[in-house]
């Protein structure tokens, strides 16, 4: 069994804030990420497809087809966006890396359920990983 992973950088801004908490609680919970005007990150998304190697092509998946799918479903929506204001998904949902990863997973897997794992780096030091199924 073999998995192929591609990495895709994108840049976006966000603010971590929820109306369910008071201003003081938001500031305590989210710290600098709660600053009112938001801030940005260079994110990097890793997308993994697993399966058997096709004997005709020697590939698990065409990287070009995967690139086109990720570009259309994720990068065109997120790159150089403000997650809170430009994405209806985050009108009420806090755009933490975890929630962003879950949304990205939903978008990606609607047409490509063979995507078995994503990893999302918010910075070089923070990342989350979601395994949807065994590869």
């Amino acid at each position: 069994m073999t998995c192929l992973t591609r990495r895709y950088p994108f840049s976006a801004s966000h603010r971590l804030h929820t109306d369910r908490l008071s201003a003081a609680d938001n500031a305590r919970l989210f710290g600098k990420c709660n600053n009112p005007y938001g801030h940005g990150h260079n994110y990097c998304l890793e997308v993994t497809v697993g399966g058997e190697i096709d004997p005709r092509t020697g590939m698990v998946v065409s990287p070009a087809a995967l690139d086109a799918h990720v570009r259309r479903t994720v990068l065109e929506r997120l790159d150089h966006s403000n997650l809170n204001t430009d994405l209806p998904e985050f009108a009420t949902l806090v755009p933490t890396t975890e929630n962003l990863g879950l949304e990205i997973g939903r978008w990606l897997r609607r047409d490509w359920p063979q995507i078995c794992r994503i990893r999302l780096e918010e910075t070089g030091s923070n990342s989350i990983e979601i395994e949807f199924h065994e590869p």
């Binding site: 069994m1 073999t2 998995c3 192929l4 992973t5 591609r6 990495r7 895709y8 190697i53 005709r56 092509t57 020697g58 590939m59 698990v60 065409s62 990287p63 070009a64 590869p135």
Partner: protein, 136 residues
């Protein structure tokens, strides 16, 4: 159970094409990688061995030994070579990253699966933005 990983690098050239397909089909399938004169990558390979920690020497596997096996079986034959022309089976098996990772697995596993430990995965970076993982 503990996993231990050793990383190594090799630089090699390759091209991707299936001789049973037409040049147009190969170009559609592999894009620029189909160019028959080849092109190169700095490959990075990460080999992970899994097993119990030996109660006496405190290791899953002696890293010196893992390094030596990786060097002998993979780096020495692959480094600074044109894979399609110089490194079997890539004269007849398309050297996609998937097939290279599977070949590395095939070369390493007989030397690593012993004393209760086993080769768990081979991760191969073709570029910093594309990698494959082979699990046997």
């Amino acid at each position: 159970m503990v996993s231990i990983t050793r990383k190594a690098e090799f630089s090699a050239s390759h091209f991707c094409s299936n001789p049973q397909l037409s040049p147009e089909e190969n170009r559609a399938l592999y894009g620029k990688s189909a160019g028959p004169n080849g092109h190169g990558h700095n490959y990075v390979v990460e080999v992970t061995v899994r097993g119990e920690v030996d109660p006496v020497h405190g290791m899953v596997m002696d890293l010196k030994e893992l390094k030596a096996v990786l060097e002998r079986e993979v780096i020495e034959p692959f480094d600074h070579r044109f894979l399609n022309r110089e490194v079997p089976p890539f004269d007849r098996v398309t050297p996609t990253p998937e097939n290279i990772a599977r070949e590395i697995w095939r070369r390493l596993s007989p030397h690593l699966n012993q004393n209760g430990r086993r080769l768990y995965s081979v991760r191969l970076y073709e570029t910093p933005d594309l990698y494959v993982e082979h699990y046997g």
